[in-house]
Each structure stands twice: as C-alpha cells, then as structure tokens.
Amino acid sequence: MIEVKNVTKSFAGRVVLDDISINFEQGKTNLIIGHSGSGKTVLLKCIVGLLEIDKGEILFNSTDFTRMNFKDKKEVRKQIGMLFQGGALFDSSTVEENVRFPLDMFTDMLPHEKRQRVNFCLKCVKLEKVSKLFPSEISGGMKKRVAIARAIALNPKYLLCDEPNSGLDPMTSLVIDSLIKEITEEFNITTIVNTHDMNSVMEIGDKVIFIYKGQKMWEGTKDGIFTADNQHLNDFIFASPMSKKIRSLAKGGGI
C-alpha cells in the first residue's frame, strides 16, 4: 500500500500539487486521471522521490519514504517498477539488454534463468521478435511495451505507470491494460496508473482518483464515475461528442 498524505509541491512558487491525500490500495489498479498538465506526472515523481515534496508524507507500507536514509530508500526502490511517460529506455542497449538490466544489477540469476525471465517479460508485451533491436529501431508504442517489460522484470511490489497507453492503438492498449491488471492481481501489487484514456478507466479502474489543477477532486470506482456529481469530472469524462451523446441518451432513458 502507498499512502500519500497532505502532499504539496510547487515549482518556483507555482503550486502544482495542492494538499493531496490518497490511499493507493494493494492488489488493485489505482488510476489517476486528469487533464494534461493537471499534475499527474509530478505526483508519480514525488511518490518515487524523483522530485522533493514541499510538505506532507509518502508512506510505503506505513514507513515514511521521504525521511528514509539513502540505503533504505534504495531497498524500497528495488521493489518499484516504473514506466515513464517517454519510456526512458537505455539507448545504447538492445531491447533484450534493457529488460535484462535490472536482473543483471540486482539478482544472482544464472544466464539461462535471466534469458528465460527476459523472454517471459517480452512475451507478456508481445515483443519476442524485436529483442535484438535497439530502441531507436522500434516504434513509439513498442518502446512503451519494452519499458513495461523492464518495469515488471524484477516482480515489483509497486508498479507505477505514467500513461502506458498513450500512442498505442486501441487493441494494443487493451492488451497492455489487461496485462497490468493481471499482474497486479496475481502478484498482489500496488499499482498506480496515470491516464486520460477513458477506455482504460472502464477496463481496469478498481479505484479512480480525479485530479484537477493539482487538487484531488473526486475518488471512487469506475462504476461510480458516471453518476458522480462533480462538475469538473463530468466535463472531463464527457468531453468527446460521442460520450456526450451517449450520456444524453442514458439520461433520457434511451439505453
């Protein structure tokens, strides 16, 4: 479980996260949704300590991460798998080496065990065929999937994904979503996913948190989201003409 308590973060006086408190539950996919620029990425980076918070606490299984010493922090970090919005693959290594990197660094696995694990992770994201290519030689969506494979290589206890679906076609998105959901439940992981894709929300949103201009506006489940009476949330989820149409039909009892 990851708990965020009264976290505030500002850049040069501009408040980006404003007194946010969220419980991210174990074994569930916790979704953070919000407009572009609402502070989702900043929140994830604060959680893992890449950005320093101004105020508040961040607890990993009830211990305060922000006040840990370097060594303890490192131990926690080994249990975190993170997918960056841009992928953040190592340019100078092949796909295979990227996924193997955490294994090389932190395990004493034998070469063939590593190979097995790498193949398994690449299979999960349906990328066995490109294992020898370099990141510059694969498509943007493929990079994302490699990054996911790398994030899950060490069987993390916490999985943080920053927009795993952006830039992917709907079919691949579905595959990635169900992969995230599957491993979350199977290994009882605490998963946090940033997204503004409503399909993902419907697919995997065990718990959904809506952030608006750095503030938590709403929290609930994917089923509660349509009946929520928060104006900003409604504007956000019913932004597209199609969903507006569906909504008016639903309201008029047409569905």
């Binding site: 080994k78 960056f84 660094m105």
Partner: protein, 249 residues
C-alpha cells in the same frame, strides 16, 4: 541551466564526486562498463592523437630548426629541443586539451541525453546509484588509458620530428638521435604521465558533471557539452601550471 554562482557548481561537483566514488554495487557490471569505456574513450582516440602528434612533432622541429640557424649552435640541439617540448608539454597538456574536446563533449552529451530522456531517473528508480554506474567507469577508463595515449603521442611526435627534419634536411638522422639522447632526463616522461592522469580525471569528471546535471531539453544538452569542453580546458591549464610548479621545481 539556471545561472548559478561558481561556488554552487564547485559544491555540487564535489557532492557528485562523493556519489561517484561510493562503493560499486556489482563489480562485474562495473567492470564491463569499464571495458566499454576504454574502447569508447580510449581506443577510439588513438587515431586523432597519432595524427596530431605527428604533425605537431614535425612543426616543433621545423620551428626549432628555424630558430637555431646559427653556425655556433650544434644542430643536434634541434633534437634536444623537440624532445623536451614534446615530453614536457605537448604530449600531456596539448593532447589533454584535444581529448577534452573530443572525450569531454561526447561524455557531456551522452549523459545529458540520458538525463533529459529520463534514463538517469529510470536508473535511480531501480535503486541504481546512477552517478557511480555511469561516471565511475568513464573516469577510471580515462585515467588508465590516457597514459598509454600519451606514450603513443611521445613516440609518434618525436618520430614526426625526425621524419620532417631529415626530409627537409635541416638535421641528419645521426644528429637527431644524438639530440634525443643528449642529457636525457627520464623523469620528464614520469612528469608527463603524472600530468596526464590528473588531466584525465579533470576532463572526465567535469564533463560528467555538466552532462549529469542538464536541465531542460536537447538544446541544453548542446550547451552543456560546450560548457564541459570550455571549463575542463580552463581547469586543465590551471592544473598544468600548478603541477609544473610542484613537480619541476
């Protein structure tokens, strides 16, 4: 990068170095990185060092010959002067400046690109000491391999001097060899190598510093690699003065 004072940079540089020289987590991986960097920073520089040394050796010889065109001065002095300037100054300092340009900009842009594309963040998240993992192998590789480059430069430089000297007939082979052996002080080589090791540390660590702390986008990566070259060259020249005073007086 936001404009910050000199002391800010010096302080942050030493904090970074403390992180770089922390105990490596997995020796085997560090060793592999080290070998990669030897190839990348060292072996790949052999060509440029050889070419520049040959030409500079030749130029030094011609200039010295031009300056000692005096019937009272024996012409083997050309060999002596060429040898001493190559051993004392050229093969360590000049080569270091050239490498600061080549190696420094490549290190700064490599690390800078890793920073802006969040690869360094990704390492940190995994629990890797990114500073040590990325920078230590580079510093060590240069400190180990650059003395070899300096030796190559000394040999090639002197050969270049001999070649041009005999080709243009300002000096005969016998005289040149006599000059090279005349009052030879082996310590000059040691002195050149000590300087090289110090310069190797300076150029790699300063370039790493500028690359590692890039903020912003690819534009900043370019700027910081320019800065890396400028500042490491200046610091190399400063330390050249200090070391010369310390080692030769």
């Amino acid at each position: 990068m936001i404009r910050k004072g000199l002391f800010f940079h010096i302080g942050r540089y030493f904090i970074l170095m403390k992180k770089v020289f922390a105990k490596p987590e997995k020796h085997k991986i560090y060793y592999q990185q080290f070998l990669k960097e030897i190839d990348n920073l060292g072996v790949n520089s052999l060509g440029i060092v050889a070419i520049i040394s040959a030409f500079m050796g030749a130029v030094i010889t011609i200039q010295t010959a031009y300056n000692v065109q005096n019937p009272l001065l024996p012409s083997y002095l050309i060999g002596v002067a060429a040898r001493d300037s190559i051993l004392l100054e050229f093969s360590s300092t000049m080569v270091a400046l050239i490498l600061a340009g080549k190696v420094g900009s490549s290190i700064a842009s490599e690390l800078g690109t890793m920073r802006v594309s969040e690869q360094i963040d990704a390492l940190e998240i995994m629990g890797v000491n990114s500073a040590s993992y990325l920078i230590l192998p580079k510093i060590l590789a240069a400190m180990v391999f650059n003395p070899f480059l300096t030796l190559v430069s000394m040999v090639v430089g002197i050969s270049g001097g001999w070649a041009i000297g005999t080709l243009t007939e300002v000096i005969t082979t016998q005289e040149f060899i006599l000059g090279i052996r005349y009052a030879f002080i082996p310590y000059y080589i040691t002195y050149g190598l000590i300087k090289t090791v110090v310069f190797a540390f300076i150029m790699t660590s300063i370039a790493s510093y500028y690359g590692y702390y890039v903020e912003g986008g690819s534009l900043e990566v370019g700027r910081s690699s320019t800065r890396a070259v400028v500042y490491s060259s200046v610091v190399i020249l400063m330390f050249n003065l200090i070391l010369t005073k310390l080692l030769l007086s």
